[in-house]
C-alpha cells in the first residue's frame, strides 16, 4: 500500500483548566490518501475542529497535543517549530474556515493577499503571481476576475468571499486542504456551488481534502471516506457509501436515522436519547454507553478501540469483537 499523504496516530489533545485537564481528542487515528477526500462528521463539540487545528499546528495554548503523532508524507509535523509550521501551512496545507473573514485581511485587496501568499511560497515573479491569481479566481467562479481582484474582501458577497478563500487556500499548490465547515454559514443554494468548486478544483490539482462538517448530506456528495467522531473519539471510519447505507456503530446508526431526508417519508425519526457528554463527564468504558440501546456489561468497563471490519472499515464497538463477547 502506498504511503498515505497524511497519517494521524493516537492523537491526544488536552486543555488544562482550573478544574482539571480536559481531553478533547482521545487517541484518534486515521489516514488520508493522496487525492482523497476524507469527511469528518460529528455533533458540535465532538472534536472535529480541534483535530483540524492539531494538524495545522493551531491549537491555542494552554491547549496542547499531549500524545500521538501526525505525519505528512512520512515526515512528522506535530513537533515543528512555529516558524517551520507556518511554512507548512499555506505551502503544503491550505485552509478554509466557516467564516471567510478569518482567512482574509480586510485592509488588503484580494490581489495583494493572493500575490503575497503565492510569492511567499513559490519562486515566481510578481507578474507571474498576479497572472496565476487571476486565473485561480476565474477558476473558482469570480466573474470578471481580472478586475475584481483589486477589490477589498468586503466588496464581495458571502459566497464570493468563500470562493476567494478557496483560491487563497490553493494558490501555493498545497497537497492537503483542510476545510472546516466551509459552507455552514451559507445558504443552501450557495452551499452547493461552493462544495462543487472546492471538490472540482482540488481534484484537478490532486490535492487531498479533509472536509469537516456536521452535515452528512455534504459528506455523502463529496467525500470518499468518512470518519465519525464522538466525544473526542473515533466511532467509525470507512468508505462513504458503506457508512451511510449500512452504518455499523450504534451511534452512526442512530445519527443516520435521525436525519430527515427528502427521499423518503418517515413517520417518526430515529431518536438517540440524551446528548453527547461534556468533556468532564465522559463515562468510563465506551463514551456512548449512556445513550446506547445495545450496551452490555463490557461497554461500561472497557473502552472499545477501532476494530478492522474489512473493506477499509473500522468500528469502535464491542458488538463487533467476537472474541471479546465470547470471553465476556
Amino acid at each position: 500500500m502506498p504511503e498515505p499523504l497524511l497519517s494521524v496516530r493516537d492523537l491526544v489533545v488536552e486543555f488544562p483548566t482550573r478544574r482539571g485537564v480536559l481531553r478533547a481528542i482521545d487517541k484518534v487515528s486515521f489516514d488520508i490518501a493522496e487525492g482523497e477526500v476524507l469527511g469528518m462528521v460529528g455533533e458540535s463539540g465532538a472534536g472535529k475542529s480541534i483535530t483540524g487545528a492539531a494538524i495545522i499546528g493551531l491549537i491555542e495554548p494552554p491547549g496542547r497535543i499531549a500524545g500521538g503523532e501526525i505525519r505528512l508524507k512520512g515526515e512528522r509535523i506535530d513537533s515543528l517549530s512555529p516558524e517551520t509550521m507556518r511554512r507548512v501551512r499555506g505551502r503544503r496545507i491550505g485552509m478554509v474556515f466557516q467564516d471567510p473573514l478569518t482567512s482574509l485581511n480586510p485592509l488588503y485587496t484580494v490581489a495583494q493577499q493572493l500575490i503575497e501568499t503565492i510569492r511567499t511560497h513559490l519562486d515566481v515573479s510578481d507578474k507571474e503571481a498576479r497572472a496565476r491569481a487571476v486565473a485561480l479566481l476565474d477558476r473558482v467562479g469570480i466573474p470578471a476576475a481580472a478586475r475584481r481582484i483589486d477589490d477589498y474582501p468586503h466588496h464581495f458577497s458571502g459566497g464570493m468571499r468563500q470562493r476567494v478563500v478557496i483560491a487563497l487556500a490553493l494558490c501555493a499548490e498545497p497537497e492537503l486542504v483542510i476545510a472546516d465547515e466551509p459552507t455552514t454559514a451559507l445558504d443552501v443554494s450557495v452551499q452547493a456551488q461552493i462544495i462543487d468548486v472546492l471538490k472540482e478544483i482540488c481534484a484537478e490539482r490532486g490535492a487531498s481534502v479533509m472536509l469537516i462538517t456536521h452535515d452528512m448530506g455534504v459528506i455523502a456528495e463529496t467525500a470518499d471516506r468518512v470518519a465519525v467522531l464522538y466525544a473526542g473519539r473515533l466511532a467509525e471510519i470507512g468508505p462513504v457509501r458503506d457508512v451511510i447505507q449500512a452504518a455499523e456503530h450504534p451511534y452512526t446508526q442512530g445519527l443516520m436515522g435521525s436525519i430527515p431526508t427528502l427521499a423518503q417519508e418517515h413517520d417518526r425519526l430515529v431518536q438517540i436519547p440524551g446528548s453527547m457528554p461534556r468533556l468532564n463527564a465522559i463515562p468510563p468504558g465506551c463514551a456512548f454507553n449512556p445513550r446506547c440501546e445495545q450496551a452490555f456489561e463490557r461497554c461500561f468497563r472497557d473502552r472499545p478501540e477501532p476494530l478492522p471490519r474489512g473493506g477499509g472499515r473500522q468500528v469502535a464497538c464491542w458488538l463487533y469483537d467476537r472474541a471479546g463477547v465470547a470471553h465476556g
Binding site: 443552501v188 443554494s189 450557495v190 448530506g217 455523502a220 435521525s258 436525519i259 417519508e265 431518536q271
Partner: protein, 329 residues
C-alpha cells in the same frame, strides 16, 4: 373548506434602513426602505402544519413576528379564528396572545438566564391569570414532564441544561397558556441532528395530543418536508409557491423551488446529477425589477423583467411565475 384558523392577506412590512438624518442631508441621499415582506397571503387550517421555507433574509422571521403580534404590519391583514388582529387595541391583542405562542431558534436568548425554569414556564400562566397558588407549581411540573424533563427541573436555571433541553423548556413555556397555535421559527436550527430528531418528534407528539396548529419556519427543506402538510416558498419577501408537502418535492412548480430542491445535498447517494445552481440572492434594498428571481432564472423572458408575477392556482397550490402561467414550463 372549513374556516381557516389563520388567514393572512397582503401582509407587507417595510423597514427604514436610511442613514442617520445628518448623513443623508450631507450626502444628499433620499430615505431608504427595505421590503422584508411583500404582499404575502396564505391560510392555515386547524390542526395542520404549514411551513414557510426560504433562504436567509427571505422574510420568514418578519412574517412570524407580525403574526404573533410582535411587529406591526405596514399593510395587510391577519385574521385569527375569524377575528382580525387589531394592533391598536391592547386588550384585544392580549386576549388573542393567549391563544398563540412562539418558539424561537435560539433557546438561550429566549429564556431569561436569571429566572428559574419554573418561573419561566409559569410566566404565561400568571400573566393571563390562568391559575393561582399551588396549582401553578403542579402545572409547571406536569408541563416539564410533557416535554420529557422532570418536575424537579423547575428549580434549576437555564444554563444548567443542554441546547436540546433548553428548547424543551421553551416548548413547555409555549404550551403553558394552552395555545391552539404555535409559531416555530427555526426551532431546531441551532441543534445537532440527533437532538433535532428528539425535538421534531416531540413537536409531532404534542400536535397529536393537544390538536395544535403549527406555522413552522425553516431554511431546511428536509425538516420542512418531514413536518408539514403544506409549504410556502419565500424568495426576497414574496411567496413564490404554495404546495402540498408531497407535491412540492415530487413536482415543484416555481423555478426557484426547483433550484432549492436541486441544491439540497443528496444523502441517499442516488448519483443524481443536479443542475448547476446560479447566482446569489440579490440585495433586498434594491431588488431586481419585475420577478425578483429573474437574474437567476433559466426560464426568464421579457415579461419577467417588467411585471411582478402574481400567485395563480396550480393544482392544489399556487405559483407566482409567468413561465408557469403561460404554460412555457
Amino acid at each position: 373548506m372549513a374556516e381557516p384558523l389563520l388567514k393572512v392577506e397582503g401582509l407587507t412590512r417595510y423597514f427604514d434602513v436610511s442613514k442617520p438624518w445628518l448623513n443623508r442631508v450631507i450626502e444628499r441621499e433620499a430615505k431608504q426602505w427595505l421590503t422584508a415582506t411583500a404582499d404575502v397571503s396564505f391560510e392555515i387550517a386547524r390542526g395542520e402544519t404549514f411551513a414557510l421555507v426560504g433562504e436567509s433574509g427571505s422574510g420568514k422571521s418578519t412574517i412570524a413576528k407580525m403574526i404573533v403580534g410582535l411587529l406591526e404590519p405596514s399593510a395587510g391583514r391577519i385574521v385569527f379564528d375569524g377575528q382580525e388582529m387589531d394592533f391598536a387595541s391592547g386588550r384585544e391583542m392580549r386576549a388573542l396572545r393567549k391563544r398563540f405562542q412562539m418558539i424561537f431558534q435560539d433557546p438561550f436568548a429566549s429564556l431569561n438566564p436569571r429566572w428559574r425554569v419554573g418561573d419561566i414556564i409559569a410566566e404565561p400562566i400568571r400573566t393571563f391569570g390562568l391559575m393561582s397558588g399551588a396549582e401553578v407549581g403542579r402545572e409547571v411540573g406536569r408541563l416539564l414532564e410533557v416535554v420529557g424533563l422532570g418536575a424537579a427541573d423547575a428549580l434549576k436555571f437555564p444554563h444548567e441544561f443542554s441546547g436540546g433541553q433548553r428548547q424543551r423548556i421553551a416548548i413547555a413555556r409555549a404550551l403553558s397558556s394552552k395555545p391552539e397555535f404555535i409559531v416555530c421559527d427555526e426551532p431546531t436550527s441551532a441543534l445537532d441532528v440527533s437532538v433535532q430528531a428528539q425535538i421534531l418528534n416531540l413537536m409531532r407528539d404534542l400536535q397529536d395530543e393537544f390538536g395544535l396548529t403549527y406555522l413552522l419556519i425553516s431554511h431546511d427543506l428536509s425538516v420542512v418536508r418531514h413536518m408539514s402538510n403544506r409549504i410556502g416558498v419565500l424568495y426576497l419577501g414574496r411567496l413564490v409557491e404554495i404546495a402540498d408537502g408531497r407535491k412540492l418535492f415530487s413536482d415543484p412548480g416555481h423555478p426557484y423551488s426547483r433550484m432549492l430542491l436541486d441544491a439540497v445535498p443528496d444523502l441517499t447517494l442516488s448519483g443524481r446529477r443536479r443542475r448547476q445552481v446560479e447566482g446569489e440572492i440579490p440585495n433586498p434594498i434594491d431588488p431586481p425589477p419585475g420577478c425578483a428571481f429573474h437574474p437567476r432564472c433559466p426560464h426568464a423572458f421579457d415579461r419577467c423583467r417588467a411585471e411582478i408575477p402574481q400567485p395563480k392556482r396550480r393544482g392544489t397550490g399556487e405559483v407566482a411565475c409567468f413561465a408557469v402561467e403561460e404554460g412555457k414550463i
